[in-house]
Amino acid sequence: MDLLNSVLLGFQVCLQPINLMYCFIGTILGTLIGVLPGIGPLGAIALLLPSTFKIPPVSGMIMIAGIYYGAMYGGSTTSILVNIPGETASVVTCLDGYQMARKGRAGPALGMAAFGSFIGGTLSVIGLMLIAYPLAQLALKFGPPEYFSLVCLGLIITTYLGRGSMSKALAMVGLGLVLSSVGIDIISGQCRFTFGIVELRDGVDIVPLTMGLFGISEVLMNLEGIMKQEIFQTKIKNLFPTLQDWADSIWAILRGSVIGFFLGVLPGGGAVISSFVSYAVEKKVSKHPEKFGTGVIEGVAGPETANNAGATGAFVPLFGLGIPCNPVTAILLAALMIHGLQPGPLLLKQNPDVFWGVITSMYLGNIMLVILNLPLIGMWVQIVKIPYRILFPLIVVFCVVGAYSINNSIVDVGIMVFFGIVGYMMKKFKYEGAPLVLAYVLGPMIEKNLRQSLIISDGSFLIFLTRPLSASALLICLVLLFGSYIPFFRRRKITEVLEKVND
């Protein structure tokens, strides 16, 4: 009964006209970001974060969440029509989606991507509602040692599931932790690594950091190459899939929802891995695996469902434990804190309107997306045609304004440009940005809980091993860290999985 009352409260919040408007803006912006190659949901959320500072926290969170799952919808359009994924989670959609477009079946591919995303997103919201609530109740009993170990586990799983070298990903975790310690120490009040710059006393702000790492660096990377934007010339008709299409796709959609949701909950999982795994599973269970890659609708329905389900599943640890499991939810965590809200289980206790308002807004957001996306596909196609030479200065302008407007400080613009160059170098040297951002956001949580645990235990590290949950989390960390040398635990990179899928 408690749950039903809470859902009712959520609908009361999200059905308010102002929240409906922000949900609508978020989903539209998200779709736009997903459609445009060269800027992902992470850069877009970082870019729009300052604009949420002046609106009520619940409206801001509803908008940011809308951008995230909206981008998952939009990404499929470019994958299918241009063979360029609008964002990473739609990479795998190119394989069959583009082939369907070449065969004159762009309409059913786009339609099934939209319906699959809707079903995956909606089922995932139900899962989120059912799991986040008891998880949050349970998490209220956690102490500093449990939190410290769980955050460590989250970071290690992120590096384990990453795409590149594990030692490089771990090094980025170290760098993120170092960056998080810049500024005044909250316990002693002492300045750390500020180099006499007053603006650094509050630490390196998340917005210029992420804008630089994911916005400016992406612009620089794209400037290097020639971005081909050849849209396949075809008339988009029959957006509503046929009964045969539905019969072929329905199980792929249901499997994609389950895979997406559970992989989304995992730290470092989220939408990207979900879509790859869903494609691999569909190919494995198919009666005609040899047809995958030639334009089969299951190859579009499964991954597109999974990436939306994964995006929603990523909210479970954020709302349940206050631990983000990917950089996008890390920015959401930062946004909650900027709005003065306590993320995690306390959010449910202190601000149930925000907790349930955001969750229920996802139902409405998914409905808005499916209603919007189908008739507006023609418009999104026109947007894809914007040449990159016009687009990249616009991205730079938005980044500059976004970074400056947080504190009205040119130092923040400088920090953004600095991290833009760092991010570019990282991409060139094959270092991932995700573990760095995640460690940067989780750094203060790690420090606080580590120091509190040591103070409680009079300096004994045994406190982390005498508590069952903490000890289990640390044991898994060790297995993942050193287990790479054992064949059973050897990590599979996404690229390897994709290569296998392609074979």
């Binding site: 170290g174 760098l175 170092v178 120490d185 290097e224 030479r389 040119i410 040297f429 040591l454």
Partner: protein
């Protein structure tokens, strides 16, 4: 990736060493009362230790491996964009947002890309004007003013 891995891991190890020494200076405290330098110190040790395998692998790796064919990259464009951004940040307090950003756009359209002058000027003006009206006038973001306060010239808008 051998050489670039060597360079990147050496840079990270140097960063780690600098942070370690700075953390000691800040104060590590004790295990029962950790000081302000406690976490940064161990984070830097972690950074250094995790950068070592990359360095060792890159140094001791097989040198006979044939380098993978490199994709054609236009690094001149990137270097130009780097320089443009650094100059932009340096002169933004002096020039202010409208003039500084217009010059940056012009540099992007003419220096980095090859757009015709009239289109470059027109697109630059449209981008600056549009963003200025949205962010400064409408959302009141208070963008950098610079020496020439454009607000005085456009008071009729407010």
């Amino acid at each position: 990736m051998g050489r670039s891995d060597q360079i990147s891991s050496i840079v990270l190890i140097i960063v780690a060493i600098v942070v370690c020494f700075s953390s000691i200076r800040i104060g590590l405290g004790t295990f029962d009362t950790p000081g302000s330098g406690f976490l940064p110190f161990f984070a830097a040790v972690f950074l250094g230790l995790t950068s070592l395998p990359t360095l060792i692998k890159a140094t001791l790796g097989k040198k006979s491996e044939i380098a993978a064919p490199q994709e054609r990259v236009n690094s001149r464009k990137v270097i130009k964009a780097f320089i443009g951004l650094i100059l932009y940040v340096s002169f933004l307090p002096l020039l202010g947002y409208p003039i500084g950003t217009f010059l940056l756009m012009l540099f992007f359209f003419k220096g980095v890309e090859t757009m015709k002058w009239r289109w470059a000027v027109l697109t630059g003006i449209l981008i600056v004007l549009g963003s200025y009206l949205i962010f400064d006038v409408w959302l009141q973001c208070m963008l950098p003013v610079g020496l020439v306060d454009i607000r005085k010239l456009t008071q009729w808008i407010y």
